[in-house]
């Protein structure tokens, strides 16, 4: 099969496991008569991501990132940034550690 996972050199690297972890944990067939082991929910990670977006730290970071950009009125607005040449950096690098157990939620099975 063609593995077209991007950015991990293909195959199942730990990186790609992290990237599809919510599918493994939160999707898939749920059979009501069987028990599901109490684990983490990816919702923990999701909630975390939302909090980060709406925090003062994020606002400060956005402000500083914008300040680094010298976009003047003379640079005419375009629908797409055709003048942008520099590559944006990699994403935050805010990747929760996945070594060992991930996030343990207290409580019973759901």
């Amino acid at each position: 099969m063609t593995v077209m996972t991007q950015g991990s050199g293909g195959g199942r690297s730990s990186g790609s496991l992290y990237d599809v972890i919510e599918l493994i944990l939160d999707r898939g067939l749920v059979i009501d008569v069987f028990v599901r082991v109490a684990l983490l929910g990816i919702e923990v990670l999701t909630v975390d991501a939302r909090i980060v977006v709406a925090s003062v730290d994020t606002y400060l970071r956005f402000a500083e990132a914008a300040n680094r950009l010298d976009v003047t009125a003379s640079s005419t607005p375009t629908s797409l940034p055709d003048l942008v040449k520099e590559m944006a950096g990699e994403r935050d690098g805010k990747v929760p550690a996945l070594d060992g157990s991930v996030v343990e939620r207290k409580g019973g099975s759901r």
Binding site: T2, G7, D19, I24, A63, N67, R91
Partner: protein, 244 residues
């Protein structure tokens, strides 16, 4: 000993489970539980199973191996049956539903697409298209960054605009791919992505791949598109009729 369930297949599936390792520290060997036209791939459940990387990987690897050799209905990680007999009973009691789901998934794969904005590029774009924002930016630059309060207000404004932008670009990405898939499942915005969508597509999915390439080229400067698959159809197996 309870039974850990990985997934269901047609009984005619080649089931290449030899040498495959299941969940647990001792990596219990996989077993096949058969019931008429259906089969389940299972193993002994380890004590104290948790979402460890090793076990998540084992679960995913078993399903991907099965998927590569035929059709599989993946069960959610951590599904436990009291014993093999209970698995057989489940296959028997919902035989029609499982057969139906399996035939719907024949030849189909899940492709997960996550899209992330390249931050500098999207900020630049926002500044260009919004004069008020641009003026605030120039004023803060002139003031050597401005005080904390001014920065927070400016950043909050950016965040709000970015949210609008994420929604709009998210719709655009999904709209470009949707025509080439037979189903779409939208997931949560994990890890800062503004699109986390799974598409059910017929392998080898050339149309879909072509649409992805076009998207990637068109928005290369603005959007980092990450594509994972082909995967077992995690997002498209549901016993709920309405969702299926």
């Amino acid at each position: 000993v309870t039974t850990y369930v990985y997934g269901f297949t047609h009984a005619s599936h080649r089931l290449p489970v030899d040498g495959l390792v299941g969940v647990g520290k001792t990596a219990a060997p996989l077993r096949i539980v058969r019931q008429h036209d259906l089969a389940a791939v299972v193993s002994d459940a380890p004590e104290g199973l948790r979402a460890k990387r090793r076990d998540l990987e084992a679960h995913a690897r078993v399903l991907e191996t099965l998927q590569a050799a035929g059709t599989v209905l993946p069960t959610r990680f951590g599904t436990l049956a009291p014993d093999d007999q209970a698995v057989r009973a489940e296959l028997a009691s919902r035989a029609t539903r499982y057969a139906e789901l399996l035939s719907r998934m024949d030849g189909m794969v899940e492709i997960n697409v996550k899209a992330v904005h390249r931050e500098d590029a999207v900020l630049r774009d926002l500044l260009r298209s919004n004069e008020g924002l641009r003026q605030m930016n120039q004023a803060l630059r002139a003031a050597g960054g401005g005080d904390r309060q001014a920065k927070v207000e400016f950043g909050e404004k950016i965040a709000a605009l970015l949210e609008v932008r994420r929604a709009a670009d998210g719709e655009r990405v999904v709209a470009a791919l949707r025509p080439h898939a037979s189903a779409v499942s939208i997931g949560p915005p994990v890890d800062g992505c503004f699109v986390n969508a799974s598409f059910l597509v017929a392998a080898p999915s050339e149309d879909f791949q072509a649409a992805l390439s076009r998207l990637r080229e068109e928005h290369a400067e603005l959007i980092d598109l990450r594509v994972y698959g082909p995967l077992p159809p995690y997002s498209f197996v549901s016993l709920d009729e309405a969702a299926g």
